[in-house]
């Protein structure tokens, strides 16, 4: 009787321990590597200044030398936490964020970097962030669109902790210790659209997406506009899957688009492997997103867009450590693009089938949108004929997402109602 009870108690405890442990299964590995590096620097301000100096030379951001200082939240931080909504090797969004976090660790040897993957976009995120803060983290990166509300909750409760969120917009007042940041994702997507427009023979492009959020609509529009600029007959067929990563739905969406005659496909999904592999197997071409998945599609890969978060993450961390976060450019809805020189969303490498002519066209457009142009320079008409962007209008970065409310002409498919 006693032995049986003891055994079941032990089993239950074991299960609970593994269940609680699995939330932060990367925590132990990240902490292990971080503590070994932290141990080697019982150091010195010499080491930290050396680190920030190498940061400045390694980064492409022009004003990293002028980091604001002060007494703000996050000053002198010794620990920084990152939470991701998915796994760190999804060939996509979360992998890129994870790589960025490791770049922070590499650039700051005396800073402990802790990460947590598979953190859902609900109160679980609050719990995980609170745990990181109680463990000593004073800078928190919440890297998913739906992590905003938990992040704001945590920021309100801890005014001495810098909480930055990736991808969403804070409406209304912004607390002194929060900010959002993102790159102008639609810019490299526009360039990729040019490559797709040139590569297609059926004039049908495919776009698989999750939800019609402003970011996604801007992406789809930019892709179609890029393709149309070199191929006026190009059309983009859109299919949504109601999920950021559901491999079965992705596979079905891809095969459905190919059945319609689409020969270049791209996606706005967190995990990109399924659609990339499906395109390669069907002999179609693919444009990547979030990460460089060209290894999965050696013949069909054209180009893509991928994240290079390292420099931006490092800049935010340096600003916070110096105490200058409050009132800095990061204490806002910060968006950086080609015009600022530091877009963390960069174009992926070209595949074997891209011609030099196409590459030259793209280089020209890149120059244009890095200075006075924009993928959304008017006149641009929506599907129903109404004007989205007036003639001669070049929207500022902050307005692009809010103005992309409808699909442009050439996109086949409606924005789902409701």
């Amino acid at each position: 009787m006693n032995i049986r009870r003891l055994a079941s108690l032990a089993a239950a405890t074991a299960i609970m321990v593994t269940a609680c442990g699995s939330d932060k299964k990367t925590d132990s590995t990240a902490a292990a590597t971080a503590t070994t590096t932290a141990a080697t620097t019982a150091a010195t301000t010499a080491a930290t200044t050396a680190a920030t100096a190498t940061d400045a030379s390694a980064g492409s951001t022009p004003d990293s030398a002028e980091i604001p200082t002060g007494d703000g939240p996050g000053k002198g931080a010794t620990k920084v936490g990152f939470i991701f909504v998915g796994p760190k090797d999804d060939y996509g969004y979360n992998q890129a964020a994870y790589d960025g976090s490791q770049a922070v660790a590499a650039a700051h040897p005396d800073l402990e970097v802790v990460t947590a993957e598979n953190v859902p976009e609900d109160d679980n995120a609050t719990r995980v962030m609170e745990k990181m803060i109680s463990d000593g983290a004073t800078i928190i990166f919440a890297t998913s669109y739906g992590h905003l509300d938990p992040a704001l909750k945590v920021a309100e409760a801890h005014p001495d902790v810098v909480v930055v969120q990736q991808g969403n917009f804070i409406q209304g007042d912004i607390l002194p210790n929060v900010g959002t940041y993102f790159g102008t994702v639609y810019e490299p997507v526009f360039l990729a659209g040019i490559a797709a427009g040139k590569a297609t023979t059926s004039n049908k492009l495919g776009y698989v997406y999750a939800f019609p959020i402003p970011q996604t609509i801007a992406n789809i529009n930019a892709f179609e506009l890029g393709a149309k600029s070199v191929n006026p007959k190009a059309e983009t067929y859109v299919v949504n899957t109601s999920s950021w990563c559901d491999p079965a739905k992705q596979a079905e969406a891809a095969s459905s688009l190919f059945a319609q005659g689409v020969d270049v496909i791209t996606q706005h999904q967190d995990c990109t492997a399924t659609i990339t592999k499906a395109a390669e197997e069907a002999g179609k071409m693919v444009v990547g997103y979030h990460a460089d998945a060209s290894a999965l599609a050696p013949k069909g890969w054209i180009t893509g867009s991928e994240w290079a978060w390292g420099d931006l993450y490092n800049e935010i961390v340096d600003t916070a450590i110096a105490g200058g976060f409050t009132g800095s450019k990061f204490n806002a809805n910060y968006r950086v693009g080609y015009k600022d020189g530091g877009n963390p969303f960069v174009q992926s490498k070209y595949g074997p089938s891209v011609t030099d002519e196409t590459k030259a066209l793209i280089a020209d457009q890149l120059k244009l949108i890095s200075t006075t142009g924009s993928p959304f320079t008017g006149p641009i008409l929506a599907q129903d004929g109404s004007t989205l962007f007036a003639a001669g209008e070049t929207p500022a970065y902050a307005d692009v997402e809010s103005k992309n409310t409808k699909f442009v002409e050439g996109v086949v498919g409606e924005i789902p109602a409701g």
């Binding site: 299960i15 593994t18 269940a19 699995s22 299964k25 796994p87 090797d89 999804d90 060939y91 598979n118 495919g206 939800f211 019609p212 067929y237 859109v238 299919v239 949504n240 899957t241 109601s242 999920s243 990563c245 559901d246 491999p247 079965a248 739905k249 992705q250 596979a251 079905e252 969406a253 095969s255 459905s256 688009l257 059945a259 319609q260 689409v262 995990c271 492997a273 399924t274 592999k277 499906a278 197997e281 999965l296 086949v412 498919g413 409606e414 924005i415 789902p416 109602a417 409701g418």
Partner: protein, 305 residues
């Protein structure tokens, strides 16, 4: 490709994993054990297939590993239900979460891995049949295997001696015991077989359909399989029809969208579940006499008060 043929082809392709799991669950339920952990077995099978296929380079070895993994998880369920008299429904859910947790933990390394997969293969003569050939006979080998398994299951349950023992174990196990047969081993075997089939269903999902592994990739298909089994009264042909119907409804959403129809996204997502329940409830009206008695006892015992 016309809308109808696209939906039907996608229906068979997407419904095969549910079909496998549902066939297995029919066997299990015929012996009087409900296994709500079918989804867990499917996940274990999906991961095992992808992992073993990527390690060894042979997809069929992956299928074998999937059957083993699914069966092992079902063995856990069978042990607690049959030898420890635990509540079947609760144990099934626990097994589900166990499967989900284990596969999420051990699957981390395989998200990026590449694995050899099953390619569609056009059956020589049959694929030339107008319409039906293109829909049913240009699929991958696991789909063809399931075509054989459906009539085989039917024959096994209703025309073989083993089937009589199986059904008797679920109907009135005392009669079976009186005749000198041991009931527990039959029930154990049927639950494990159910798990093995579910594992192969998961394998189809990962190495034939999506050609990738991702945590929780079954997204509720195991539960759909259990529901289909109940509404189709545990008869293999009706079960297969229900599974393909669900698959077709799942394929409807992208098929409509890629033709430019933008109906409410969430309504389209709900259609598979609504349609399947409606059709099976109408066509498979449950008569009390059709439910194995052993199964009725499970559900009676679960009501409160």
């Amino acid at each position: 490709m016309s809308l109808l043929s696209e939906v039907l082809t996608g229906g068979i392709r997407g419904g095969t994993s549910i079909n496998y799991a549902a066939l297995g669950e029919s066997v299990s339920e015929r012996s009087g054990v409900v296994n709500l952990g079918t989804e867990g077995s499917m996940l274990c099978g999906a991961l095992a297939a992808y992992a073993i296929a990527s390690e060894t380079g042979h997809p069929w070895l992956g299928v074998g590993a999937a059957a083993a993994a699914g069966g092992l998880l079902a063995l856990v369920h069978a042990y607690f239900v049959l030898s420890r008299n635990a509540n079947q429904l609760a144990t099934g859910l626990v097994v589900l979460f166990l499967g989900l947790g284990l596969t999420s933990l051990f699957g981390v390394d395989y998200v990026q891995a590449l694995a050899p997969t099953f390619k569609p293969y056009a059956v020589p003569v049959l694929s030339k049949i107008p319409f039906l050939g293109g829909v049913a006979f240009k699929q991958d080998p696991l789909v063809y295997l399931s075509y054989i398994l459906v009539p085989l299951s039917w024959w096994m349950i209703f025309r073989s001696r083993a089937g009589v023992l199986l059904r008797a174990a679920g109907e009135r196990s005392e009669v079976l015991a009186t005749h000198g047969h041991r009931v527990k081993p039959i029930q154990y075997l049927s639950v494990v077989i159910g798990g093995m089939f579910a594992g192969v269903g998961g394998a189809h999902l990962s190495i034939a359909y999506t050609k990738s592994w991702f945590e929780n990739m079954t997204q509720g298909r195991g539960f759909v399989a259990v529901a289909v089994v109940m509404f189709a009264a545990r008869q293999p042909f009706k079960v297969a029809a229900g599974a393909y119907l669900f698959g077709a409804a799942l394929a409807l959403s992208p098929a409509l969208q890629s033709r430019g129809y933008g109906i409410n996204q969430f309504a389209l997502d709900a259609i598979p579940y609504v349609v399947t329940i409606l059709v099976l409830v109408v066509l498979g009206r449950r008569r009390a006499a059709e439910t194995p008695e052993g199964l009725s006892k499970v559900f009676e015992a679960s009501t409160v008060g």
